[in-house]
């Protein structure tokens, strides 16, 4: 790598010994040292700079180096909380004891993380980031992760005595703890309306509406297991909501997509017809696109599934329609315990414009969490419960009608009792008549 122009303003910089503020000598860390070099900024250089500041990080590096040698972790959980809350802190106590039964790295014997919810959309002013940094230097190690996989700002490394002081200070300037344990968890929304032309909803508003409605379930964990909301403005799903959220809210539209035929022609001219056919027309999952002889584009909007592909490729020529709203899916989660599940459609489309619309979304979330809290087994995610009891029982529990958009195809097994068929047909006809 080229020599930095100004070594003191570079991610590889390590201050001279004379500026060392921590009183403990640094450990030899030959394993970690091998992660200093290379073109990507090194977290090890970061750890070293922190260890120059405080003894907790000196010992943290000692323990981490030990892990690199033994290939084992040495943290155990425990109970640490702030006054009034039951969650939001991830307590860590070292398990790495010397022969005398005392911690081998005593200054890092406690190394808790505080989860704090970032501003919706993860927008910051530099003033705010600096403020977090100076508060955390006062109460903790100085190390902040932007962000954890759930979307929290993670203030990593402090002891029990400093938790309350830190929380009080950030809470005074407008920040609250995130979720941990069997609770509603911290949520994420995509950049969306703030800077993305694909956005079909106000992602931040949805995120804040839902999470802030369940703060009691976030701060006092008493649910069967975790519950996550995630919000994406379109089906590109930049926050991975279908696979990572118990309730995913994704922007979409129901009228025709907008086509600027002049821009279509300009795009063809800049790329070629072949490029457009190979990369757009033939990639539409439902064959809804057709290129006309005069280089205009026809869209079969009734069969477009709003996958976003053509719009992603021709950002100037194509855009979502005006009649916008959201699709709600439920039940996404990773492996434990029944295997991976994706969220499935629960509400194919709902408008999100008036206060009543937003209230309706809130009510769906409330009904879902209530039903799940009542019916789930211990440590059972919403998607696992749906799998166990069947989609129809879940829908009846949250008072939502069945809809063919919820399935890939109707049942293939004839082993089912259907003696209330006529009643169900009546319901369908009544719903149809009501529309």
């Amino acid at each position: 790598m080229a020599q930095p122009k100004n070594p003191e303003k570079h991610c590889t910089y390590i201050p001279p010994e004379s500026e060392k503020k921590s009183s403990k000598p640094m450990y030899d860390t030959p394993m970690l040292d091998q992660l200093v070099d290379g073109p990507w900024p090194s977290f090890v250089s970061g750890l070293k700079r922190l260890a120059m500041n405080n003894n907790m990080m000196v010992d943290l590096m000692g323990q981490l180096e030990h892990s690199y040698n033994t290939r084992l972790g040495y943290w155990k959980g425990g109970t640490v909380s702030i006054f009034g809350y039951g969650g939001g802190i991830i307590p860590r106590f070292t398990e790495l004891m010397g022969d005398d039964g005392e911690p081998m790295f005593p200054e890092a014997r406690e190394f808790h993380t505080v989860r704090v919810m970032p501003p919706a959309g993860m927008h910051y002013s530099t003033d705010l980031i600096r403020k977090f940094s100076s508060t955390w230097q006062k109460y903790g190690s100085g190390m902040i992760a932007f962000h954890g996989q759930s979307g929290d700002i993670m203030f990593i490394g402090t002891d029990t005595d400093n938790i309350q002081g830190f929380f009080d200070e950030v809470n005074e300037y407008g920040f609250d703890l995130g979720g941990a344990g069997p609770a509603v968890r911290t949520s994420m929304s995509c950049v969306g309306a703030a800077r993305c032309e694909h956005s079909c909803t106000n992602e931040q508003k949805v995120q804040r509406l839902l999470v802030n409605n369940f703060l009691d379930d976030m701060h006092r964990p008493a649910l069967p297991y975790k519950f996550k909301f995630k919000v994406s403005g379109c089906s590109n799903d930049c926050v991975n909501s279908i696979q990572r959220a118990d309730m995913a809210i994704i922007g979409t539209w129901r009228d025709d997509m907008k086509v600027d035929q002049g821009e279509v022609k300009a795009f063809i001219k800049s790329k070629s017809r072949k490029y457009v056919i190979d990369n757009i027309i033939s990639r539409c999952p439902t064959n809804a696109l057709s290129l006309n002889d005069d280089d205009t584009l026809s869209v079969d909007n009734r069969n477009c599934v709003r996958c976003m592909h053509c719009i992603n490729v021709m950002t100037k020529a194509l855009s979502p329609g005006d009649d916008r709203g959201v699709t709600v899916l439920m039940g996404g989660k990773r492996t434990l315990k029944i295997g991976d599940t994706m969220g499935t459609v629960i509400v194919p489309f709902m408008k999100l414009e008036s206060d009543e619309d937003y209230d309706a979304l809130k009510e769906i979330a409330e009904n879902t969490i209530d039903f799940w809290a009542e019916n789930a087994l211990e440590h059972e995610r919403c998607g696992e419960m749906i799998d166990r009891i069947g989609l129809v029982n879940f829908l009846e529990g949250i008072e939502i009608d069945v809809d063919p958009n919820m399935i890939n195809h109707p049942r293939i097994s004839s082993y089912v009792r259907m003696d209330t068929w006529d009643e169900e047909v009546d319901k369908w006809n009544q719903r149809k008549a009501a529309v």
Binding site: L32, R71, I82, G121, Y124, Q149, I156, S235, C307
Partner: protein, 359 residues
Amino acid sequence: MTEKAKPRTPIESGVPDGMQYMHPVYLKNFGNWKYHDRPRPGVLHHVAKSGDEVWTVRVGTHRQLGPYEIDLLCDIVDKYADGFVRFTIRSNMEVSVTDESKVAPLIQAFNDAGYPVGGTGNSITMISHTQGWLHCDIPATDAAGVVKSLMDELHDEFISEQMPNRVHITTSCCQINCGGQGDIAINIQHTKPPKINHDLVANACERPSVVARCPVAAIRPAIVNGKPSLEIDEKKCICCGACFPPCPPMQINDPEHSKLAVWVGGKNSNARSKPMFHKLVAAGIPNNPPRWIEAKDVVMQILHAYKKDARDWERMGDWVERIGWPRFFELTELPFTKFHVDTWRGARHTLNASTHIRF
């Protein structure tokens, strides 16, 4: 001191409003953007319906930031940009300017400080990483070290846009898989049942909930050395490690037998194909700090084949669906074994019930 005696009641303020920390041009054009393009790798150019334009520079970070790098980066943002930052879910910083002439000096300033600009469009963006030995209570490997080793190797792909489509890589240090689905996912895969520390079970674990946690009902209560403990039916055990978080004496982590597995083709977006789960392609890879060379080699093998063979806009999973799995194993030269054939519930649906075979 008396003040310390009465605890302060928290203000349950919840998620803060993002609007108050947002770049003014985002605020002004909220919900009214027209289109975007990418003038160069690492830069997004958005145009609003009002005619306003904004250039956003995307910067790779090492996620865990201390005061030095926070000041270093914020000084750059204050001096060369407008004082606002947004983070992507993959720990990249996005810094916006409304004046095009500021873009090049801003990029230069980040590069001069050692931070790469890239991660946009069809690049390999920052790996989504978990906690690892630094902070989690159950990891079998580190997270930051694996990410650093791989990103060193992938640096050139981060700062350019040369892949068929975007590549999202994830890492996870246990089978809970906080890293999530990825075009390529590198995850711990244990290969031996937990060793039980019977002396500790009675004190540390709520036995019925540990029994309930096992996905294959391999755990049962037992009395060992006269004390209540647990025993595992090792023939049934799938070595998933699910019993370890509720009961740390179920020691699943092993320096030798906790291996890495590589999974391919996960996709979260709905573009073209529906979202997909990633699928197992390689396992038995040693968990080898500090640079995990063997895992890196497998990842590079897959990336080379994808880069060479996939068409524009094909994500890893789209590509494999087009060319088929036999060709994937042929092109990547990875061995196909009996372990690639699924055995979990629903496994039948993963079999080829047709004569569709490529020659």
